[in-house]
């Protein structure tokens, strides 16, 4: 009996280890710049979607304005560099702190709303920030900001080639997932899921709903800002659209929803499927490819919403026992 119970858990552990090994080896096996770039893009997408997942998935507060944290995370180190020559190693934590502040300021009024109203409010705030940043000369206006062109030292986090970035991103992804896992196991994780299911019932059991949601948003903002800052530093350039654009927010939602919002590895799986697809679309269709990406996103939203609201992870959880049974029979 105990063996039976242990089986799925150990099976899961094996697949997690395999995934970790594959991610560590990937850039060494595929040393071509094109494949490494896909790898870095995937990790970045997985970090931001996992970050979104904390508040959007577990707590069910579907923010479609997470680009505000991503953009703030990306802009802050580049702005501090442009103004005073501060190294990104200092700028990144500053961006994270600002994002936490923004999360509290935005969360306090918007968490009074629920469902679609909350989603729309987050879109509105992110769009306001994007437009504001686009007209503010100090932060580069519509043109944007640039980071250090040549590293003065390692603390500038400016490297040639993708390999160092790849492993930094991988470490941050591991951290984000480890933190999410730890939360999932604690009271906080149970409270988030209770809030997602019924705020009224949660409150009746003494769950401090508003505080819990704010904490989740702040934590989610922390990792989203981290993803944004890594993006900004790696690209060495940021403008209003690539930082605060709505597509940045929508991507997080779609990656998480496709894989399975509110599950530990769902967002990662979503990114694993969609990032290569996106790259392929860009390669096949060339300049017109970004349009095709939108079409694919739209199609995916429709399909998930209609057939698999739980995402692929949920689908797998239901199908796996059936497949296993069939395997045993054969």
């Amino acid at each position: 009996m105990s063996k039976l119970l242990a089986q799925p858990a150990s099976g899961q552990r094996v697949s997690i280890c395999l995934l970790a090994v594959a991610l560590v080896l990937y850039p060494l096996v595929f040393s071509d710049a094109f494949y490494r770039d896909i790898g870095v893009t995937f990790l970045l997408a997985a970090i931001s979607a996992s970050a979104w997942n904390i508040v959007g998935g577990y707590a069910g507060q579907v923010s479609v304005g997470h680009s505000m944290f991503f953009g703030l995370g990306a802009y802050t180190p580049l702005l501090l560099y442009a103004l005073w020559g501060w190294p990104p190693l200092v700028g990144i934590p500053a961006g994270i702190l600002l994002s936490i502040g923004l999360a509290v300021i935005v969360g306090l009024p918007t968490f009074r709303l629920s469902g679609h109203y909350f989603s729309m409010a987050t879109i509105a705030v992110a769009e306001l920030i994007r437009i504001f940043v686009g007209t503010w000369a100090l932060v580069g206006g519509a043109i944007g900001l640039q980071g250090p062109a040549i590293a003065r030292g390692w603390w500038d986090l400016t490297f040639r080639g993708d390999l160092p970035y790849y492993y930094i991103f991988l470490a941050v992804l591991a951290l984000a997932l480890a933190v999410t896992y730890a939360l999932e196991q604690r009271r906080f994780g149970y409270y988030l899921r209770a809030i997602k299911s019924s705020e009224r019932a949660a409150r009746s059991l003494g769950v401090p709903v508003r505080r819990t949601k704010l904490q989740a948003l702040a934590l989610s903002a922390t990792f989203t800002a981290m993803a944004g800052s890594l993006y900004g530093v790696k690209t060495g350039f940021i403008d209003p659209d690539s930082g605060f654009g709505i597509l940045v927010s929508v991507q997080m939602v779609i990656f998480a929803a496709l894989g399975g919002a509110g599950t530990l590895f769902g967002p990662l799986i979503g990114a694993l499927i969609l990032v290569p697809l996106q790259t392929a679309a860009n390669t096949w269709f060339g300049g017109g490819g970004s349009g095709a990406t939108f079409v694919i996103y739209g199609g995916i939203i429709v399909l998930i919403a209609r057939f698999e609201p739980g995402g692929l992870f949920d689908l797998w959880r239901r199908l796996a026992p059936l497949l296993r049974r069939r395997g045993h029979a054969a």
Partner: protein, 240 residues
């Protein structure tokens, strides 16, 4: 006095759902609230649970004014409640549902889980079942288990026994008895007279936002005003 409501009234616009109700509950009692549909029981109940803010009046719990306290503050103070329409956490297992309640006074997962397991056993549910898979009677039972795990001193039951088969009803009555024996004071809103007659010694009857009768269940069912409220005899007599 564990719970005391003084002249509680709640108006929605011009409609006075509760027009000045008093209630005093001693430690260890089971008090029933009955009345026809729309009599104001549920609104009054929600005022007691902190879910609805009364227009006027005061509610004291153990001598402390909780009239304006939030639902979560009510839970922390020791007032637990169930919902008329069960609101279980459907994405979670039965055990996880009960753990959410247990976490209120047991912040560590293992403590909460152990406590929740005992409560689940007591209520006769299956811990590993997903809440989504439960039918309405089990859902109501799960709600009771969940709030019980939060360690209330006063339990407010909102039609938790409605819609059960006779067999299930007997089990549910036994469960409420057991909870009462654990030292928990109970206020129960119920339509089923069998429940009220067997469980409570004191009943308040609501009609049109007012308490029209109070006493033992036996006194109340013989009360002229109560019979009139339920059967509308006065209205019939007027027509004759």
């Amino acid at each position: 006095m564990l719970l005391e409501a003084r002249n509680v009234a709640k108006a929605f616009g011009d409609f006075r759902a509760v027009a000045g109700a008093d209630l005093a509950v001693e430690q260890g009692e089971i008090v029933g609230l009955i009345g026809p549909n729309g009599a104001g029981k549920s609104t009054f109940f929600n005022c007691l649970a902190g879910d609805t803010l009364p227009t006027t009046g005061r509610i004291l719990f153990d001598g402390v004014d909780v009239t304006r306290a939030s639902p979560e503050a009510h839970a922390r103070a020791g007032i637990g409640r169930t919902f008329q329409v069960p609101t279980t956490f459907d994405d979670m297992s039965v055990l996880a549902n009960v753990m959410v309640g247990a976490f209120l006074r047991r912040p560590h997962r293992n403590d909460a889980r152990e406590h929740a397991r005992r409560i689940v056993e007591l209520t006769g549910l299956r811990a590993d079942q997903p809440a989504r898979a439960l039918g309405t009677p089990s859902r109501k039972r799960l709600e009771i288990a969940r709030v019980l795990a939060s360690g209330p001193r006063l339990l407010l039951l909102d039609e938790s026994l409605a819609g059960l088969t006779p067999g299930e009803l007997q089990e549910a009555i036994a469960l409420v008895r057991r909870i009462h024996q654990m030292g928990i004071t109970i206020v129960i809103v119920e339509h089923i007279m069998e429940v009220i007659m067997t469980l409570t010694r004191r009943v308040l009857v609501f009609n049109q936002g007012r308490v029209i009768a109070r006493g033992t269940p036996e006194q109340v069912v013989r009360d002229e005003a109560v019979i009139e409220a339920y059967l509308g005899r006065g209205a019939r007599r007027q027509r004759e």
